[in-house]
């Protein structure tokens, strides 16, 4: 299936990736090629086949509801772009 420029811009917005006008043409062509590859799947008869999300049918483990994490806020915030008083700073979202 061929992708349109409008489709691409919508995807980019959903994915929160800024796309410059100059990139749109190439991306449309490349993604259309990838969609052409994955479109092969449409021809496969999978009637009655259950989707498989995980190769080994594992059950999720449960653990006791106990606090196991130690406070490492300082170390984790040391790699953040902008912090103040233990908080992550982002541009203002509420006026």
């Amino acid at each position: 299936m061929a992708l349109t420029e409008t489709d691409l811009r919508r995807l980019a917005r959903l994915a929160r990736i800024r796309v410059e006008d100059a990139e749109v043409g190439t991306l449309v062509t490349q993604l259309s090629g990838i969609l052409g590859l994955i479109d092969q799947l449409q021809a496969v008869d999978t009637h009655g086949i259950e989707p498989l999300s995980h190769a080994l049918d594992l059950e999720q483990r449960l653990r006791p509801d106990e606090v196991t994490e130690v406070d490492r806020r300082e170390q984790f915030q040391a790699v953040a772009p902008q912090v103040e008083a233990g908080l992550y700073l982002v541009p203002k979202v509420i006026e």
Binding site: I17, L37, I38, E50, L58, R61, V79, A80, Q82
Partner: protein
Amino acid sequence: MNLATTSLKQLAGALRKRQVSSRELAQAYLERIARLDPMLGAFITTDHECTLQQADAADSRIASGTAGPLTGIPVAHKDIFCTQGWLTTCGSKMLSNFVSPYDAHVIEQFKAAGALILGKTNMDEFAMGSSNETSFYGTVKNPWDLTRVPGGSSGGSAAAVAARLAPAATATDTGGSIRQPAALCGISGIKPTYGLVSRYGMIAYASSLDQGGVVAPSAEDLGIVLNTMVGFDARDSTSIQRPSEDYTALLEQPLHGLRIGLPKEFFSGGVSADVERAIEAALQEYERLGATRVDISLPNTALSVPVYYVLAPAEASSNLSRFDGVRFGWRAPQYDDLADMYERSRAQGFGSEVKRRILTGTYVLSRGYYDAYYLQAQRVRRLIVNDFKNAFTQCDVIMGPSTPTVAFGFGEKTGDPVQMYLSDIFTISVNLAGLPGLSIPAGFGQGGLPVGLQLIGDYFSEAHLLNLAHRYQQATDWHSRIPALASA
């Protein structure tokens, strides 16, 4: 001691007998890296001070008689494993400023074993690539021919081991990223059964497929390293809890009666003549060792590539949403508001292949397409798993080429992503099924470039696969051939 011709097992023996100290070993490898890596670009980071400190600690441990098999051995780590105090980039500008505040489980295991961190190796950005050409840190050159790719995504680890800049290196494999570069660089590489190696601290690409493993010259060395790497970890929700196993225990077993399954889909077209010849010669060697051939079929092999390029991008688009420029990683220097900050940070931090996969994943998960693409791919994934289940009722191991061709040239496949994707045709289905896979050197093809033989086993058959590889390596010497550059 000639590092170019000494195996990890021999190094361990020399350390134990005090013929060499860990410090001397570390210095010798660091010297090789400083001298040869500028030609290859296999390493992103080395830290002499840190490595030598670890070496001194290992020497004390050896002196006190509490050393294990890997104590004092330098190991290189793919830059996808979070390493406390070390720059951990995943080959991306997005993490070009990320000094990890914690260790991956794999790194913890190596530290506990007393192994040294020799450095962090180059890789395709976020492990997305088959040629190491998508790394923010530049391409890695194939040590056998500097105009060729080393494969990917673990191209740095494979090139480092091929040039004997490290006795072994960790790697990861989501669609072939251990086996394909191992094949193209003429070394051995194992992707264990999904769930054996913890994904904790291993930066996520496609979580239902990602699996850590090892590259080293020989199967015997792979087994020794795997013994340290495998282990249950409660912090990985899909980590497998089973009794620990010695992956070197079966190495010497004879191969009489071994049934080798040859999927017709791995041999019908698409494989270049030089690769086919080398694989045929390897199969004849196995026959001399007592094995027989069984013709089998994995009918859905061709569909593994489209299935992968639905599921892996879908998982990636979700996993990589964490890179938002808020808690860690790249933040755009200028932006208007919060949404603009996200969009610019991600546009600047991610390279083009990563963006393509995030956009593809966003597409297949979006409303109206989820059933047609994502669920359909999961259904075909089951068909692929069933193919393997049927195959293993007829044979003990599946063999074939690891890759359709020997190493290709830089830029040869970068113009058309689909061509690049198809180069993983023989490795991807193994990840979809979660099976263990191994690639070992099996001679040389066009241009004197290495050919890899792939061995695919049933779940948890790693020790058996290593046995099959080891017996072959006792009868041949492909795995001990080194590129001219490495003997310099």
